[in-house]
């Protein structure tokens, strides 16, 4: 994978200088939020409920021996517990913690990684994007006073593949994938078309990751916002001509660093979305995840309007250290644990 993979397995995969950089960046982040009176919090890694997102798999364990006792899920992000704090009146909060996602291992993924997640009371996603810029400036990664180019998801697709992602039908997305020579494997057992296995959102994800991301890799930073409503996750939906999810992503050289939402505060809509994800999981034969009733009760109690963002800290270190793989900035990546 890297030159480091030849070093003995007991050794860290990275230079001590990278660990010093990590430590400096963590300290600078804590100073940044302390100055803004954003409170640092810690929430549990293990919970009885989990994340039902059909594209994320949780690690789980049991409170008893073997399969005895309650099943507990390791969090894939501290989002649910932090929202319970917000509903309880915490005000703006941040957390730096390890999160866990099964099967995610590659040059930009490690099943255990460090997340910086923060929530700002009274902010919308545009104001939070501005704060992301200020954080990058405080870390010396963005010139003082400079703004990052912002582009809507729709405009991004129009510029790079000439298609409007909100209105285009799947046949044009399929044609785009063929024209741009993305060699997608099609199960010979399926029909000639990939319609059966690829939803519209799957096709958009394929075009984004295989065609657009390589093309935006020349841009040091880019903020993409206003995603299709079908990809809202836990973001508010705004009803423009086309409904859009008030979500944003920060890219650095074509690599996704952060994902932010103008947070959904409606408990009923939230539960509805969870149930949809759960149904998709069942259709795909995936494990059912107990839904977080505490989060639901917290939202029903009332959570003030806020915006939140989750930033992959290891990838941020990759940018700061100019490294090409996430394993190069972690002391002990998954093949050394």
């Amino acid at each position: 994978m890297t030159a480091n993979s030849r070093t003995p397995l007991w050794r860290p995969a990275t230079d001590i200088s990278i660990l010093q950089l990590r430590a400096q960046m963590l300290a600078a982040i804590r100073v940044f939020f302390a100055r803004r009176e954003v409170m640092e919090v810690e929430t549990p890694v293990l919970a009885h409920a989990g994340n039902p997102d059909q594209y994320i798999e949780s690690f789980s364990c049991h409170s008893g021996d073997g399969e005895d006792g309650h099943e507990l899920f390791m969090h894939t992000s501290p989002e649910f517990a932090m929202k319970r704090l917000l509903a309880a009146g915490s005000g703006s909060i941040y957390q730096i913690c390890k999160v866990f996602r099964k099967h995610e291992q590659g040059s930009l993924h490690n099943p255990e990684f460090t997340m910086l997640e923060w929530y700002r009371s009274g902010f919308d996603h545009h104001r939070l994007m501005h704060e992301v810029e200020e954080l990058l400036q405080a870390l010396g990664l963005l010139e003082p006073g400079r703004s990052i180019r912002r582009i809507s998801y729709r405009q991004l697709f129009l510029e790079h593949v000439g298609l409007d992602p909100h209105t285009v039908d799947t046949s044009l997305l399929q044609a785009c994938i063929r024209d741009r020579q993305v060699r997608l494997y099609v199960d010979p057992g399926q029909a000639q078309s990939t319609d059966h296995v690829m939803s519209k959102d799957d096709l958009l994800a394929l075009i984004l990751t295989h065609i657009i991301e390589p093309e935006i890799s020349s841009e040091d930073f880019l903020l993409v916002h206003d995603y299709p409503a079908s990809q809202a996750s836990l973001a508010r939906i705004r009803n423009d001509d086309q409904p859009v999810a008030e979500r944003f992503e920060l890219y650095a050289n074509g690599i996704e660093l952060a994902n932010g939402f103008n947070e959904l505060t409606d408990s009923q809509e939230q539960m509805q979305r969870f149930i949809c994800e759960q149904q998709q999981r069942e259709l795909k034969g995936m494990k059912k995840i107990p839904l977080d009733q505490n989060l639901n009760a917290a939202l029903a109690h009332g959570m003030e309007a806020c915006a939140g963002v989750a930033l992959g800290f290891d990838r941020l270190v990759m940018v700061a250290a100019n490294r090409q793989s996430i394993q190069e900035v972690m002391p002990f990546p998954f093949d050394r644990v």
Binding site: G106, L108, N259
Partner: protein
């Protein structure tokens, strides 16, 4: 198995948008042609596994069309065609142990031993007093392979050759 051919994975990386479907971008090498191609899979998708195993077999003889090998444990014999033997043909000496890759029990590819000892059947007479340093001349070996050898090597001598680079290694003394 892809497009009815057996492949081996060379590289595999996960690509995933911030939210949504993950994909595995995979580089695979066709075991029949050696060609490397890119394929993208939806993460979690499964593909039929190719029934491919690596075995060590003893080379017996060539009947003009097929190269015959024997499993030294079971004494089972198998014939490999030209496509499977390919470049290894010029290094195959009877009795030598080769790596044979089987697909569905049929030889898919043959790899010659890294080092083989072969007799020189043809080469120009060397100049008297020459040492092993510098120069060199072509020599044809008993299998038909041609390698560069030092000038002092004579017809009838046995030399050791690295089959991976087709280079002379040493003279083998009786």
């Amino acid at each position: 198995m892809l497009d009815n051919d057996p492949f081996v994975i060379v590289e595999n990386d996960i690509v995933k948008p911030g939210k949504g479907q993950a994909f595995n971008r995979v580089k695979v090498r066709n075991l029949k042609t050696g060609r490397v191609i890119d394929r993208t899979f939806k993460s979690g998708e499964s593909v039929e596994a190719a029934d491919v195993i690596d075995t060590e077999m003893q080379y017996l003889y060539n009947d003009g069309e097929f190269w015959h090998f024997m499993d030294p444990n079971s004494y089972e014999q198998m014939a490999a065609g030209e496509a499977a033997v390919a470049d290894a043909a010029k290094w195959l000496k009877e009795q030598d142990i080769c790596a044979v890759t089987l697909w569905n029990g049929v030889p898919l590819s043959v790899t010659a031993p890294n080092f083989v000892e072969l007799e020189v059947t043809e080469t120009d007479p060397g100049l008297k007093g020459d040492t092993s340093g510098g120069g060199g001349k072509p020599a044809t070996l008993s299998t038909g392979a041609v390698v560069r050898v030092p000038l002092f090597i004579q017809i009838g001598e046995v030399i050791k050759v690295d089959t991976r680079t087709a280079e002379y290694v040493a003279r083998v003394k009786d």
